[in-house]
């Protein structure tokens, strides 16, 4: 009985991800498209889509191309076709990895993102469970307050936060970012997880309560295993947000070795050198790749996180 209920719940928890998967995976129904002729489809569908895709992807092509172009081809646009590269070189990338502090910055970014995300997910699981299932006094109001916290942008907080961080003695330390980033991530993850927890049937928890389980045991042994797709979505989206964050990192971190990739690229590579572009683009490329690879593996979870947070 309990087991069938558990599988049922698992199915329900999966539906949210599957709904998102539907966005990504093709639904094979042809719909009414057989009514259209091919030339018409070419003009109304493929051509505009092709143009939009080219515009969306061109900066990445350009980024990748520049990072493997030898310097003389970069600035000589008459003798070499700028859209292609002859004799590609790894010079910029090796320079980046072995002659600058780039690996250190990459490590900082990853470290801060992983710690902040883990902290936020733990806090969000607890608060989402409390709001959805404990039904305490004022629970709904707390949910609304957390939603409003989601709408407070970093741009209006960074100045007072800088003085708070200074007062706590955390200035120029990665710990400052690890503690501040959860304010961006918790509201979002809490709302996302609330949606997932709502799909888990009460009956399961009631069975466990009758069997003498405490709330803590219920959370650890029943709710969390059933909400794994939601947790992955929240984790990946939060990780990406951390990686992308700029203004706090720019304000709180001063010394070069402590910087994160986005801040370091903007501040450390920008000198008067006309040949800076190769290493700049290599830096941008290497800084984006980890996220793109992560995204490629978890497209469905990513989409479900994005659409889920908006729909809730």
């Amino acid at each position: 009985m309990t087991e069938t209920a558990a599988t049922h719940a698992q199915d329900q928890a999966k539906t949210a991800v599957q709904a998102a998967a539907a966005v990504v995976k093709s639904d094979d129904s042809e719909g009414m498209s057989y009514l259209e002729s091919l030339p018409r489809r070419l003009v109304t569908l493929y051509l505009p889509l092709f143009i939009i895709l080219i515009v969306l992807l061109f900066p990445f092509y350009w980024m990748g191309l520049t990072s493997i172009k030898p310097d003389e081809q970069l600035i000589d646009m008459e003798n070499y076709n700028p859209f292609w590269v002859i004799h590609p070189t790894l010079k910029h990338i090796t320079k980046l990895l072995f002659e600058t502090e780039y690996p250190r910055w990459l490590w900082n970014t990853m470290y801060v993102a992983a710690c902040a995300t883990t902290l936020s997910i733990i806090a969000s699981v607890l608060s989402a469970y409390a709001i959805v299932r404990l039904r305490f006094k004022g629970g709904d109001a707390v949910g609304v307050l957390i939603f409003f916290a989601y709408l407070v942008p970093p741009s209006i907080l960074f100045i007072p936060l800088a003085s708070v961080i200074q007062a706590y003695g955390l200035f120029d330390s990665p710990l400052s970012l690890i503690l501040v980033y959860p304010t961006l991530l918790i509201p979002f993850s809490t709302w996302l997880l609330m949606g997932y927890f709502k799909t888990i049937p009460y009956e399961l928890e009631e069975c466990a309560l009758i069997d003498g389980a405490s709330r803590w045991q219920i959370l650890i042994k029943i709710v969390i295993p059933l909400a794994v797709p939601g947790l992955i979505s929240a984790f990946i989206f939060s990780f990406t947000l951390c990686w992308n964050e700029f203004i706090y990192a720019l304000t709180f971190l001063q010394s070069t070795p402590n910087k994160t990739v986005p801040v370091a690229i903007v501040n450390e590579f920008v000198d008067g050198d006309i040949y800076k572009w190769g290493s700049l683009m290599a830096g941008a490329l290497v800084g984006s790749l980890p996220l793109v690879i992560l995204y490629a593996f978890f497209v469905e979870h990513y989409v479900s996180a994005m659409t889920g947070a908006v729909k809730e």
Partner: protein, 319 residues
């Protein structure tokens, strides 16, 4: 739900016989307090408190390394007569309105395209979101290179096509710089709008379109009287978020122009960073940041009414 509530009075009967620890451990409200504690600690210490502190700092003359004293509205009076501040307000509004409107139009168009039947649908939809995944600053750097005054690939292509005869000064001329920054923002924002609207589009039943087609509706009529009304609630939410994030944007502009040329692309956020952190006048920077709050409240109010309307459309049970 009902079962849980009927079990409560039974608990209440022997509640008094348990020790204080037992009660703290099992009472629903106390338990909720423990569960909410980490979230509350983060949000109060690093969100609510700084928010209040920011408003307070805007009434002081605090500088980096020196606590300020209360000076009333002096910062705001100073800003009121500061033409650069008003220029930044104008830029922010221009940036937000133009970028959001185009993001909405292109995003909706792209969502409608992606919603149609075609080969390699899955891969195309996944690719569309890539600009949203890549950190904004890193793609802004790519745009910076594309907009380079001497080696811009756009200028080069247009010259080769014979459309212009000299390089475009993308980030050097005030109006070109505004247009360039807005374009980069649109490029980054369209995937978000398109994919979230696509999720909304997929909840629209195809049978509605089939019925309308049988009744002789044109493409435009199907969009206007089926798609658009059913999509309104999600459009309201998506656009509120889009407006909010565009209005408070910082990193794109900072990476591309740092507010230049001649303050032509300074947004309120970048001006606040320049005055508050770089020049060290924290009080004045906080005043600029605080001046953004009324605009944000307006955006949130719109979001709120958008959701109310959704509730009304779907009936009161909105789970």
């Amino acid at each position: 739900m009902t079962t849980m509530q009927t079990s409560m009075p039974a608990q209440a009967v022997y509640k008094d016989t348990r020790s204080l620890w037992e009660r703290l451990r099992t009472n629903r409200n106390w338990l909720a307090l423990w569960f909410m504690l980490p979230t509350a600690a983060f949000l109060i210490l690093f969100l609510a408190y700084p928010l209040g502190l920011g408003v307070w700092m805007s009434f002081t003359d605090e500088r980096i390394g020196r606590t300020g004293i209360f000076i009333g509205l002096e910062n705001y009076e100073w800003l009121w007569s500061d033409s650069i501040f008003w220029l930044s307000v104008f830029n922010t509004l221009l940036y937000t309105i133009i970028a959001s409107a185009i993001k909405f139009a292109v995003g909706l168009y792209l969502a409608l395209l992606l919603n149609r039947h075609m080969p390699f649908k899955a891969i195309i939809r996944a690719i569309v979101l890539v600009p949203f995944i890549v950190p904004t600053v890193l793609s802004a750097i790519a745009f910076w290179w594309i907009y380079d005054a001497q080696f811009s690939i756009v200028s080069w292509s247009l010259i080769k096509l014979g459309l212009i005869d000299h390089n475009i000064n993308f980030l050097g001329d005030p109006n070109m710089a505004r247009a360039s920054v807005i374009f980069a923002n649109i490029w980054r924002g369209v995937p978000f709008v398109a994919i979230t609207l696509l999720a909304g589009l997929q909840t629209v039943s195809p049978s509605l379109y089939e019925a309308a087609t049988l009744d002789g509706a044109t493409d435009w009529q199907r969009f206007r009287y089926i798609t658009y009304p059913l999509l309104t609630p999600i459009i309201a939410v998506v656009m509120t978020f889009s407006v909010l994030f565009t209005f408070t944007d910082f990193q794109l502009v900072w990476a591309l122009t740092r507010g230049g040329p001649v303050n032509a692309t300074h947004l309120m956020a970048t001006l606040s960073y320049q005055r508050g952190i770089l020049s060290g006048r924290l009080g004045e920077g906080a005043a600029i940041a605080t001046a953004m709050i009324p605009f944000l409240l307006a955006a949130i109010a719109i979001s709120w009414f958008g959701m109310q309307r959704r509730k009304w459309q779907q009936g009161s049970d909105n789970d």
